[in-house]
């Protein structure tokens, strides 16, 4: 899923202060799972904004709404009746949600309320871990299902760097060394031999280096 975090209120306000009616729109998918932009967080943000404006003796119209998914047209249309009454949409979707709203509601400014961070997993309540960079050529099969592109701070493909110490990355002691995880896991599986082979330079053209990517499937089109 996509993991995101709420921006600070003052940063959001700088972008929306010029409007007198704001539609705050959440997304009840990924960003709900990471407790950043779901239904609950949308209500909380709207309440926080009202409070913040009241302190400044301002009283803009603030309306909440939440879509099941902000990145799919069928769902986006769910707020179509509310959009004309507001000057701006404040989106608690990820970067994809914000841009999808902008594509559909062409005459409305769409402002992001979140910082979109990464593709990751919920490791436990309150802990989300990045583990996929969407490189376009999944290599997990070679590396014991631990991604060197994502989990190694230097994207190393041929083993750990000299900065790996007691399972920790040189970048920060709180970051586990991705290569330590790869080696440990393959050792457990008895498949350490996978690592002795030289891995040639990665073809980054299937990653974002090749430009914005798009998947078109004729069999899925209406």
């Amino acid at each position: 899923m996509i993991v995101a975090e709420l921006k600070r209120i003052d940063e959001i306000r700088k972008m929306i202060d010029r409007y007198s009616s704001i539609l705050v729109v959440g997304c009840d998918s990924c960003v709900a799972e990471c407790a950043a932009g779901g239904n609950r967080e949308t209500m909380l943000l709207a309440a926080a904004l009202r409070l913040s404006y009241r302190k400044d003796n301002k009283n803009p119209v603030i309306t909440e709404a939440c879509l099941d998914r902000q990145c799919v047209d069928d769902f986006i249309e769910g707020i179509a009746h509310q959009v004309p009454e507001h000057e701006v949409i404040l989106s608690l979707g990820c970067g994809a949600g914000v841009q999808a709203l902008a594509r559909v509601y062409t005459d409305k400014p769409i402002i992001p309320a979140l910082d979109t961070l990464f593709i990751g997993e919920t490791q436990m309540r309150g802990v989300w871990q990045e583990n996929c960079l969407g490189c376009g050529q999944c290599k997990l099969g070679h590396f014991g299902a631990v991604c060197p592109v994502t989990r190694c701070s230097k994207k190393l493909m041929n083993g750990p760097c000299g900065g790996s110490k007691e399972g920790r990355c040189e970048v920060h002691p709180e970051i586990p060394c991705g290569w330590d995880m790869i080696v440990t896991r393959l050792e457990t599986l008895g498949e350490l031999d996978r690592l002795s082979e030289y891995v040639p330079p990665v073809d980054w053209s299937t990653s974002h280096s090749g430009g914005p990517r798009r998947v078109v499937r004729e069999d899925q089109k209406p």
């Binding site: 701070s153 190393l156 493909m157 750990p160 970048v171 440990t184 002795s196 030289y198």
Partner: protein, 307 residues
């Protein structure tokens, strides 16, 4: 000989090689670089020119290599994959060879978070082993990555670093073997303070037959003070400074600590010379290059062979 490298000749003739590090200035101060270079002239077989070490912006290693070469040095061009993609790396290899460089040390580089440009993008298009293979393929097949032919391919003597003290321990020699397979000719190790662990590393390397295939130069760093020893132990990535050594430095008065540090360095050089498979030493006297001649004289290594 695979190349026209002087270092290759020294090692092939069986001499115990000496290399030393010379960090380029933070800026364009040619005078400062030449001053450092003159101290090391004729004292070492080759001089390593660092590439924005610890991610701090300095004069480019290709430019600094050229300046030191004009002074009479045999430079080892250090190249990290942190800052340049494969286009820039290969282009700089062409340029460096055109300017007369015959040795390259292929590194990944310290992460940019250590330096003075923490917001920079980390490139890491290649890793150090892929860079080794790239340089080897240029030399052996005359081709760049992707298989295109080039005119006058660089013929470099290829080095890489290895840290015998990093983890996971079981993996260190496997990684060394991978570097050998990729085409490395020589290795310069991380600074050695823990001789026991280094001996074990060398034993593993000998058992795998690696010392027959490549030359391993032991990395040596003199410590100026107990403060530096503690800093190296706690703050520098991938260092292993035993507590005994810190105690020994702490045990002498402050004004004698530099002298004690040099004494330890000379002893370390003598000890690594005794380890089978060690082909030379690589001195990394960080901002202390002027002490290198004194250390080499004390270790009996100040006369460099003519090859």
């Amino acid at each position: 000989m695979k190349t026209e490298s002087r270092l290759e000749k020294v090692l092939a003739a069986g001499h115990f090689a000496v290399t030393a590090e010379c960090g380029p200035p933070k800026g364009s101060d040619v005078g400062a670089l030449e001053e450092k270079g003159k101290i090391l002239l004729n004292k070492v077989d080759a001089v390593n020119v660092t590439d924005n070490q610890t991610a701090i912006v300095r004069m480019s290693s290709v430019a600094a290599c050229s300046i030191l070469k004009n002074l009479g040095h045999e430079p080892i061009l250090q190249m990290v994959t942190r800052d340049r993609n494969r286009i820039a790396l290969q282009s700089d290899l062409f340029g460096a060879y055109a300017l007369g460089m015959r040795n390259v040390l292929c590194l990944t580089g310290d992460h940019q978070c250590f330096g003075n440009q923490k917001q920079a993008v980390g490139v890491f298009d290649l890793d150090s082993i892929q860079l080794v293979r790239t340089v080897r393929d240029m030399r052996e097949t005359g081709k760049i990555i992707g298989g295109e032919d080039i005119q006058v391919p660089p013929r470099m003597f290829i080095g890489a670093a290895e840290n015998p003290f990093a983890d996971p321990l079981s993996w260190r020699v496997v990684r060394l073997a991978k570097k050998v397979d990729a085409g490395v000719d020589f290795i310069q190790t991380q600074c050695i303070f823990n001789l026991d662990r280094f001996s074990r590393f060398m034993e593993q390397a000998r058992d795998m037959g690696l010392t027959e295939k490549i030359s391993i130069l032991a990395g040596i760093t003199p410590m100026k003070s107990v403060g530096m020893a503690r800093y190296m132990a706690n703050k520098v990535a991938g260092m292993d400074v035993p507590e005994d050594l810190i105690k020994r430095m702490a045990g002498v008065p402050k004004e004698q600590q530099a002298e004690e540090g040099i004494k330890i360095t000379v002893e370390t050089i003598q000890q690594v010379r005794e380890i089978s498979g060690v082909a030379g030493v690589h001195l990394m006297a960080i901002e202390w290059e002027h002490k290198v001649p004194e250390i080499l004289a004390a270790a009996g290594l100040d006369k460099r062979p003519v090859v």
